[in-house]
């Protein structure tokens, strides 16, 4: 492996491609030239980039669900329902977990069993097994743009098939679809594989077909401080841009503290633009996606509606371009299409009601944005240093050194030393910095915040505090206070 942040040579790309398309029989139906002309026939209103640009212009926040089932006809029915009954603005196709791990045989088994049992035994749509033609059937049978949402470390074949299949946006990245989504896969490997994916999108772009790319913002979804997800989003943006990607949507998972959430979305956009421009990719379009709370949900549906609606409100007050919507079934299982549409409609009501409102810029908000920016710069600058000027190499070394450290990530490539906890207002701070490269001011800021909370709760800051915070929203709170403080 010879990882560097450089646009892949066409020859190398082509030779890899031959192998990729052989990973599963459906690969042979991919024909790039034909796919380009197919993509060009997709009307503008059904393309991600167009729809996102329109939202930016109108100043509105679009809503998008997650959804995917094993069988094509059921999947089409599901998407149509979310379009008409859910009033979705953008559609997804969520890929099942076997496909995510390239276990196509198991996915095949899942498809078969789903057929016999008459219900989906897969937690998503196995797009690779279904192949290009069926993907086209899916994207053609709805009137909204459709995105591939997954969590696949090696997503090359999936990309080839789905983009040829008419999807106009592709989620993921070499970091964000590795560290939270796998255990043993090396970061070099996934960064290389995602260079392939991004180069593929770059080739489409060069052929006149703009595919939207979306690094996965929420990571583990569990108490991820903004500077961590921002660093990952910006790194993946830089890496994607180098491969020729021109349309990026950077993401962030809701924390629950309004000030921090708004500061996060706004700083995410400006920091991403800043780094892209600074490193020569000023022509890339950047939009934002806000994920409604991605951690553990309350089981009660009414309470889940409360969490969903508050996420919708924060997204809109922040001015995010789109919001990814949870459902009242979140804590229990993959939602029925009805539950999915309910989450969407609750969200639609709130985003539409608040469309003309934004959170005011206050000194506190600006302070929060500056803190996030300072933290993110510490991480990114050190990453570039470690990479000796190469963002890809830097990324690998930064993870090795714990310079980037994602809380609760299962991957062995992740240090797992940094520990987050909420402060007295529910904003997520660091209780343990691990090896994060922060300066003394930043560390003092976090220590004070955590100290204030510890004082208020009359206990020392410890892992128990982290656990309490992990459970808190599921139990109806934001900050996991000890009982007596209830």
């Amino acid at each position: 492996m010879n990882l560097e942040n450089k646009k892949l040579e066409l020859d190398a790309f082509r030779s890899t491609r031959q192998d990729v398309l052989k990973q599963w029989p459906t690969g042979r139906d991919v024909d790039f030239e034909e796919a380009v002309s197919y993509q060009k026939r997709i009307p503008a209103g059904k393309r991600f980039n167009g729809k996102l640009a329109e939202a930016v212009e109108k100043g509105i926040t679009l809503i998008q669900p997650r959804a995917g089932v094993a069988l094509p006809q059921e999947h089409i029915r599901l998407l149509r329902y979310l379009e008409t009954e859910g009033e979705a603005d953008l559609l997804p196709t969520t890929i099942d977990s076997y496909t995510r791990h390239n276990r196509y045989e198991e996915a095949e088994k899942g498809i078969r069993e789903s057929r016999t049992e008459g219900r989906s035994l897969l937690n998503g749509f196995p797009a690779v097994n279904h192949g290009v033609a069926i993907c086209r059937e899916v994207t053609e049978s709805v009137s909204l743009p459709v995105q591939v949402r997954h969590g696949t470390p090696d997503a090359r074949l999936l990309a080839e098939i789905t983009i040829a299949g008419g999807f106009t946006s592709y989620e993921g990245g070499g970091i964000s679809y590795n560290i939270p989504y796998s255990k043993n896969i090396s970061l070099e490997r996934t960064l290389l594989d995602w260079q392939y994916v991004d180069r593929l999108m770059g080739l489409y772009e060069e052929a006149g077909v703009s595919i939207n790319r979306e690094p996965f913002g929420p990571l583990t979804g569990t108490l991820v401080p903004p500077c961590i997800s921002h660093s990952v989003a910006i790194l993946e943006s830089l890496l994607a841009a180098e491969q020729g990607v021109k349309n990026l949507t950077v993401g962030y998972g809701q924390c629950g503290n309004l000030l921090q959430d708004v500061a996060a979305i706004r700083s995410l956009k400006s920091l991403t633009r800043e780094y892209l421009t600074r490193f020569g990719y000023g022509d890339v379009t950047v939009t934002t996606v806000f994920h409604q709370w991605m951690g553990g949900f309350p089981q009660d549906e009414a309470k889940a509606f409360g969490v969903i609606s508050w996420g919708a409100a924060a997204a809109t007050l922040a001015g995010a371009t789109k919001v990814i919507v949870k459902t009242p079934h979140e804590a229990l299982g993959v939602p029925t299409m009805e539950a999915n549409a309910q989450g969407l409609r609750a969200t639609k009501q709130v985003t539409a009601m608040l469309r003309d409102q934004r959170l005011q810029r206050t000194p506190e908000l600006i302070g929060e944005m500056e803190m996030i920016a300072a933290e993110t710069r510490c991480i990114l600058d050190r990453t570039l240093e470690l990479g000796e000027g190469d963002w890809a190499k830097g990324t690998v070394r930064a993870f090795q050194a714990g310079i980037i450290d994602i809380p609760f990530a299962p991957s062995r490539s992740n240090a797992g030393k940094a520990l987050p906890a909420r402060d007295n207002t529910g904003a997520i701070r660091f209780l343990d910095f691990g090896a994060l490269p922060f300066d003394e001011d930043i560390m003092a800021f976090h220590r004070d915040k955590i100290e204030d909370r510890a004082k208020k709760e009359g206990r020392a800051a410890s892992f128990q505090m982290v656990i309490d915070d992990v459970y808190a929203i599921g139990k109806g709170f934001l900050v996991g206070r000890p009982k007596q403080n209830g």
Binding site: S97, Y98, R100, H101, R103, E106, K109, G110, E113, R119, S120, L121, L122, N123, G151, P180, Y181, S182, K183, N184, T220, T222, G295, G296, Q299, H329, A331, L332, G333, V334, P335, T336, A339, F408, A409, P410, F463, I467, V470, G474
Partner: protein, 137 residues
């Protein structure tokens, strides 16, 4: 020493790591010896870890919905490997979608699990059951 040993892990292609980490912490706090295999654990890994450490129980988590397919045959493999009658619990979001828990329970009991837990079960519940089933106080 009276310490009981538990094998912990999230089965299949499942990467949900948060609950696993908390379960490890809670079981240790409760005085158990915990061998945590983490996420993405294959059936064989549970078995060899249990054999190696002479474990008293295997605790399987499955969150992502494929539990039904991933857990099949684990009890048989245990028997074959000589882990006859080892205590086996399973918990998490075991099936795809919101389903009547009683049916889910029956399904996993039929697969040979001694106890089956619904979504969001608190560690304390499992700890009490373990103490009872393993005869510790």
């Amino acid at each position: 020493m009276n310490e009981k040993t538990l094998i912990l892990g999230v089965i299949g292609a499942d990467v949900h790591a948060v609950g696993n980490r908390i379960l490890e912490y809670a079981f240790r706090q409760a005085g158990f010896r915990v061998v945590n295999l983490g996420v993405m654990v294959q059936q064989e890994e549970y078995i060899s870890a249990a054999l190696e450490t002479a474990a008293d129980a295997i605790l399987v988590s499955s969150l992502y919905g494929h539990g039904e397919m991933d857990c099949r045959g684990l009890r048989q493999k245990c028997e074959e490997a000589g882990l006859e009658g080892i205590l086996m619990y399973v918990g998490g979001n075991l099936v795809v979608g919101k389903q009547e828990f009683h049916e889910v329970e029956m399904k996993f009991r039929a697969m040979g699990f001694d106890r089956v837990y619904p979504p969001g079960t608190a560690p304390d519940t499992a700890i009490e059951d373990l103490q009872r089933d393993l005869g510790v106080v």
